[in-house]
Amino acid sequence: MDPKETKERMKIPKQVMPEQDPHERVRNFFEVPYGYTAEQAMEEAKRCIQCKKPLCVGGCPVNIDIPWFIRLIAEGKFVEAAHKIKETNGLPAVCGRVCPQEDQCEKVCIVGKKGDAVSIGRLERFAADYEREHGEVQIPELPRWSGKKVAVVGAGPAGLTVAGDLLKKGHKVTVFEALHTAGGVLMYGIPEFRLPKKIVQSEVEYLKRMGVEIVLNAVVGKLETIDELLSGGYSAVFVGSGAGLPNFMNIPGENLAGVYSANEYLTRVNLMKAYQFPEADTPVIRGRKVVVFGGGNTAMDAARTALRLCPEEVSIVYRRSREELPARVEEVHHGEQEGLKFQLLTNPKRFIGDNDGRLKAVECVRMELGEPDESGRRRPVEMKGSEFCIDADVAIVAIGNGANPLIPQTTPDIKVNKWGNITVNPDTGRTSKKGVFSGGDIVRGGATVILAMGDGKKAADSIDEYLKTGLW
C-alpha cells in the first residue's frame, strides 16, 4: 500500500457499533450491540492498512489471517471473508463477540499506536453474521477418512475446535457432552445478551453438518471411562471438560438460601432459561438487592444478568481497586451504563440469614492496598474496625473454579497438578497418558473462550501427528 493511501486510511474514524439503549436493554435479554451495517463494516475495514508483517495475526491465539479477511470485507466480499476466517476459526460469530480483542489482535494493531485500533472483533462478527443470515454457510470438502476415530470429552470451545479441526484433517470425531445441550460455557455461562444462544447452536449445527457426531447426556468417567473409549475404537481422546467445581469463600453463612455460585446462577438463567419462569420450569431467586463477589468477566456476566431480573440494586463487591478489576473494560462500562454499583476495596466477612435460613445481609469490611504480592498486584489488607453491612437477599460468588474430579478420579494415570488441573505439554496438549490430550479450563483453571480454542487447535495438530506416526 502506498504511503499516501495509508495516510488516507488512518484518517477514517473508528466506526461506532450501534447498541441497545441502556434503560431499554436492562429490561430484556436481547443482545446489547446490534453489530455493524454493511456500510459501516466496509468503512471500518478500510481503516486496516494491510501491514506487510501483520502483528495482529500473532496476537490471535488461533492465528486468523486478519488482514486478508478484512481486505475482503473492504471489497464487499463478505461471504468470502467469513470463509477465510473459518479456515482457522470454527466459531467466528462467537469469538467476534466474546474474545478480549483489546488484549490480543487489537492490542498490537499498528493503526492503534496512533489512535483507535481497527475493530477486528466487530469485523469478524460482521462477516460471520452476514454469512449465517444470508444462508451462505458452506460445508468445506473433507479429505478421505483416515480410518481413525477420536473421542472428545466436552462440547465447549476447546472440544468443538478440536472436533472441527480433526474432521478437516480426515479423522472421524465423536464429542461426548455431559449436559443436554452442546456448547459448554457458551451455553450455560455467557449470557444471552452477550452471546445469543441461537448463534452458538448454529455454530454447533455447522460442525454437525460437517460430520462431527455429538452425544449429549454422556458423562465420560461415569458412563464410559477414558480407558474404555481407548479400547473401544477411539485412537485418541481429547479432554476438554472445562471449568469444574465453583470455589466458595468459606465464610459463615455461605450455604444460606439465596447464596449462589456464579456457575449455578448463570446456568439457571442461561441454560435453563429461569428468566422465563414459570414458562420454563427452573426457578431462580430474583431478589431485591443482589451482591456479586468478584471482579472478573463472570462476575460482570452474573451482575448484568441480575440487573435484567429487575432487582432494586445490584452491586459488585471487589477486594481490590478499580484498576485491578480483571474484567474487560467494555463489560464494566456496559454494567455501569445499566446501573451496576461497585463496592471496591471491600471484602465479605460473613453472610447473615433470617429465621428461615434465607440471606438478608452480608457483613463486609473495607480494604486498603498494601505491598505487591507474587502476582505483582498490591495485596489488599483489611482495615480494622471498618465492618459494615450490605442488605442483600441474593449473593453470587464469582471467584473462580476448582478442577472437576470426574476424569482424574476414573483415570488415575492422567497426571494433575496440586489444584487438580490436568498437566499437559503446553506445545502439544499431551497429557501423561498415551493417546490422551487435554486443553481449555480443565488445564488452565479458568481462562477465556479463545485460549481454550487455541488449545484445541494445537491439540488437533498434535493428535493428527500422533495418529499418523503412532509416536508418543
Binding site: 458412563l223 450455604n255 438460601a257 435453563m272 419462569f277 420454563a280 420450569d281 472437576n404 470426574l406
Partner: protein, 282 residues
Amino acid sequence: MYEITEKKELAHTVYLFKIKAPLIAKKRKAGQFVVLRLNEHGERIPLTIVDSDNGSGTITIIVQEVGKTTAMLGDMGVGDTILDVVGPLGKPTHIENFGTAVCVGGGIGTAPVLPIARALKEAGNHVISIIGARNKGLLILEKEMRETSDRLYVTTDDGSYGHHGFVTQVLQNLIDEGLKIGFVVGIGPIPMMRAVSNTTKPYNLLTMVSLNPIMVDGTGMCGACRVTIGGKNQFVCVDGPEFNGHEVNYEELILRNRSYMKEEKTAMEELTYHEGPRCYEK
C-alpha cells in the same frame, strides 16, 4: 429420547418407571442416581436408580409426585419418552461384608434403600431391614424388601399396618436387644435420616444416609447441592450422595431444600390451572 417401557403405581401418587437407557443400565451401581429432564422447558431433577436390567437395557426409578416435574412424570405412561436422562451420577455405595447390616427406608426412601440392601446381601451381609410409611397405603416395595432381607420390619405412623410407630423405634429395639450391627443405612425424608443418625450415634454405629438436595447439572459444575458435612462443604453430586449420617448438617439441608417453596407453588398452580386440580390428600 428415553422411552418409558413400564409403569406401575406402587402407592397413591408413587410410581415405578422402567426407562430404556442401556448404557446407564450396564454401568450403574447401587447408590447412584440419574438426572432427568422431561421436555424442552423442563427442569433437571435427580432420582436414584433403584434397579437395572441389562437384558432389556432399562433402569428403574421410583417417583413420588411432590411438585410440577414429578406430577408431570406421574402423568406419563408406557411409550412416552423423557427428553434427557444422564447418569449414572454420584459415587456408588461402599459395599463390603459388615456382618450384620440394617437397612432403614422411610416412605419413598425405601426405593433407594432396595438396591443397597441387595448389594449388601450379595456381599454376604446378614441384612435386617426396617421400612416405614405414614400409613399402609403409602408403603412401597414390601415384597421386594422381604425377598432381599433376612428379616424385615414394617412400621406405619398411624398403626394401620405392621408396627405402630417410627422406624427408629424398631432400630432402637434392635440395638437394645444387643444385636451386633456393623453397618446402618438410612434413607428417607430428612427428619427421618436425622432421627436414624441420632439413634445410632450414641453407639457409634457406622451410619450412611443418602442426601437429596436441589441439583442442577449433577456433575459438580454448579454447587447447588452443597451441604456441610463434618464442618466442610461437600457437593452431593460428586462427593456423595451418601455421607456419614453423624456428620451431616441436616438443619442447613432442610432450609436449603426450601429455597424455592414459593416458586414451586407457582409452578404447581400453573400446572393445575392448565390441567385441572389434583388430589393429594390421603
